[in-house]
Amino acid sequence: MTNYIGKSVKRVEDKRFITGQGKYTDDIKLNGMMYGYFVRSPYAHAIVKSINIDRASKMPGVNKILVGADIPEAIAGVPCGWQVDFKNGDTMKEPPHPLLVRKKVRHVGDGVAFVVAETRAQAKDAADEVDVDYEILDAVTCPKKATEEGAAQVHEDAPGNLCFDWELGNPKDEVAAAMAAAAHVTELDFSNQRVVPNAIEPRSAIGHYDTAYDKYTLYTSTQNPHLIRLLMCAFVLGIPEHKVRVIGPDVGGGFGSKIFHYAEEALVTWASKELGCPIKWTADRSESFLTDAHGRDHVSNAKMGFDSEGKIVALQAYTYANLGAYLSTFAPAVPTYLHGTLMQGLYTTPKINVDVKAAFTHTCAVDAYRGAGRPEATYLLERLIDLAALEMDMDPAELRFKNFIPAFDGVEQEGYTTQVALQYDSGNYDPVLKRALEMVGYEEFRKEQAAQSNGKLLGIGFSTYIEACGIAPSAVVGALGARAGLFEVAQVRVQPTGKVSVFTGAHSHGQGHETTFAQIVADRMGIGIDDVEIIHGDSDSVAFGMGTYGSRSLAVGGSAIVNSIDKVLEKGAKIAAHLLEASADDLEYAEGKWTVKGTDKSVSFGDVSLTAYVPHNYPEGLEPGLDFNAFYDPANFTYPFGAHVAIVEVDKETGEVKLKRFIAVDDVGNVINPMIVDGQIHGGLAQGIGQAMHEGTVYDETGQLINGSYMDYCMPRADDLPSFEIDRTVTPCPHNPLGVKGAGEAGCIGSTPAVVNAVIDALWKGGFKVKDVPMPMTPERVWTAMNN
């Protein structure tokens, strides 16, 4: 029986946020705390000839100004957590990423000096007076151009700016042969532009060294405190892990950008001991634009071949992936194992090859951003198939139905093995698209579209996507280059009075773990949700954890909680059996009590927990206490899927696109809290739509980010978006105890190509047979497409 699972339980975390009592890193003030401000490079590529801090050091309130030379050699740079080697077996190029540069800056925003002062204003005032002499060098920002002869070099030890090259799938000649035999080939050159994650809370970190305990505390706006501790201790500062506590307090959104270990975190931690005071640094938004790891940035060419019936026979994809100036934590995995592995999509394509070149450029680092690799793969596939439908004059929905992998549940039927190294867990793809068409009123829409005559062009675009999330089976990712395991950890501590504290390694920064996890615990243990507390974000209270990303919290972290609960109930049954003078095998547990089967003899959960802590009348040989943890390592990824449909109206005169409707039918497996899942979908949709229509960095040829502020970088706003029309189907995950797949990234992965496809459809129906409008589809770009 479930009292909570499957219900839209209102969030327990809301109260502190709606009353202004949330505690984000920048809200924390420690005694004697000083404030840090970075001097950052205004140039994308330059030699630092000298740094003069004389005048700045004398400014009021200044405590210390640190430059690269002040940092001991023993302190390493920021590490990378994933290794992808070259096709020929050569090791990935992994140039150092120092906390503060010494000789050369490699992107605008590279840290050159760190000013610490009594107030933030004083630190900034002094930072303005640090005099850096630069010798400006040529820069390169495009990943394709970076690999061309004569391009400016980012790192001396990465010739041709190549970090690695990589390939997956069937041999190229087999794909080429299938392509040559195809009745129709659709080819597209396109880019998946760079976007800025833009969590509304700018990154912030406070380092605090406590001499009394010889212990550091780092407060940081992170998605994974334990991972930061591990990386910072073991690879950067060389401090023993037990001497460092990392706290991720309330965090104002992450979307990937707060997974990574950043130089600022290590610097404030180290400097707090050196300077003998807590040090806080909080990014200005302009600084966030220049230093938060960005997302996407692929330049691609892809071909999809079809037989005369419209069955896909081959896919060949070539991508240049931009890594930026330095390798961020998970950067190498994003264009490879999170991208190439998704090229099967929902289709039965028999021959697939994906080829990736990953390049350094003089830009901010690129790493996982909501979806990470999977949106890029989905974009490639879904643009090609919609365009093919237009070219072949077929219905885009029909073309998809024709190519879908037949349904399989992963239990009775085996999982589906792709050409690109994955085995899908369970899938049933027809129903999501059918439901979406129903919600659209597809036939009616096509009639309305044909009749449109008011100077506006109507268009509809589809996207049917799959993603691999619930990241990830450790052994699998280990074989693919991950330098960490990707299990999750939970501890269920039953207090003597029967109240339950749950410690999870999955940090919550908007996803509602404090509610969803409590629903699971309350139901599984048969207790009230108010008797459960979820604790996360503090490495000193939570045993361990790998954090929140890759739509993994529920599938992996939730499963760890379930396994801990099972251990609690197993031990509880032994205590109950003792109290009931029965055999544990004869007991059943429901609604918070153990009952001897077929009798009315029972003992409550509270009595058992009290007995566990007051073990006077207690089973012989059994340890007191009721407190268990579990490390859950998933058997496979999970594979949510869905169908997204966009309806747009294009103003022929101006090129302006209005998104009129957006329909999303997603299958994320079982759902614990529908309200929260809907919210996750909504947010993902807005970000995916944002990429299609509004967002994208603009670097000039010297490497300046010319739209590094909200005055120039367009964030989607309330009046840019319609109310979303969403629904779902449920195909449970067969390999985790909750049957859940994950919902965090789905909206962002599916939506982008649907919007672009809708604009292309509108243009074709209006007589403009263009293959592509580059994202973001600004009015000028759409207008240009119609007026070339």
């Binding site: 005169e653 101006t654 302006e656 120039d712 009015p779 000028e780």
Partner: protein, 280 residues
């Protein structure tokens, strides 16, 4: 996010404000052009003279022949003013298109036109409304015709030590029949182009016309070719199409990553047409 240090002085009257003026001083009105620039340290005055508390600057007066809008009137106050709605509807339309609720609650018309952002909304509206700008200085007052006020890129006829105290908008038949339309830069929501048009129609014939564009060039300007082509003719769709040709002729058109010169010029003509069509 933190301005450079400056000295803050509050003025309780226009006279006091003028008496406080020094060479390195700037005037703080609503602050919604100035403070963003201070925060990014793009503007670093030694002294700020705060005129935002001077009530006399905030009034909107309904006079016999004109409406006078105090330099300190907020965009929100203008958007909600009955006299303006009746006599110059484009004022309210433009006010509601500026920024957002919070910006409109504090930002002022005087501050905006003193700043003279080439993509701001007011310059086009005030040019089309044949307004004049009332300016106070140590010698008293002077009134500048709006056609002589905007001189170029962030440049106006305002001299050092002067304060805009009011904008006077005549109650004319044309202003009663006016509108403002805008194509927004999607991020900042300033105008890529904005067009204000005011037409005096007598028996269907255009007796007088003032049409102005903002956003397109380094400063807002009147589109005299269109005005000329409209005046004396009977106002209909055909006239609009024939009157609106190249509305950016002779102007140096701005260009950025949202709108190239070519596209901006195209939008300018589209928006002049759209403004006029709204008045059909």
């Amino acid at each position: 996010m933190i301005p450079n240090s400056f000295e803050y002085k509050r003025a309780n009257s226009v006279e006091e404000a003028i008496s406080l003026m020094t060479e390195d001083a700037q005037v703080l009105g609503g602050g919604h052009s100035l403070i963003p620039a201070l925060k990014l340290r793009l503007n670093n005055p030694g002294t700020l003279i705060d005129i935002s508390k001077i009530d006399a600057l905030k009034t909107i007066g309904d006079n016999e022949k004109s409406v006078t809008v105090g330099g300190g009137a907020t965009h929100a106050a203008i958007a909600n003013d009955a006299a303006l709605a009746k006599h110059v509807p484009m004022m309210g339309q433009a006010a509601r298109e500026i920024g957002d609720i919070q910006v409109r609650n504090v930002g002022t018309i005087g501050g905006s036109i003193a700043h003279a952002d080439p993509a701001a909304d007011w310059p086009a509206v005030l040019l089309a409304s044949n307004a004049s700008v009332v300016i106070s200085n140590k010698d008293g007052k002077r009134e500048v015709d709006i056609d002589q006020f905007f001189l170029g890129f962030y440049d106006t006829a305002l001299e050092e030590g002067e304060i805009i105290t009011a904008i006077r908008i005549p109650k004319t038949a044309a202003n009663q029949h006016s509108c403002y339309v805008k194509f927004k830069q999607p991020a900042s929501r300033f105008a890529i182009v904005g067009c204000a048009a005011a037409l005096d129609l007598e028996g269907g014939t255009v007796k007088d016309a003032r049409v102005a564009l903002t956003g397109a060039a380094d400063s807002a300007y009147r589109v005299k070719s269109v005005e000329k082509a409209l005046i004396g003719n009977s106002f209909n769709l055909d006239l609009i199409h024939s009157a609106v040709g190249d509305v950016t002729e002779g102007k140096s058109i701005m260009s950025d990553h949202y709108a190239s010169e070519k596209y901006r010029a195209h939008l300018a003509s589209v928006y002049v047409k759209r403004a006029l069509k709204k008045l059909l």
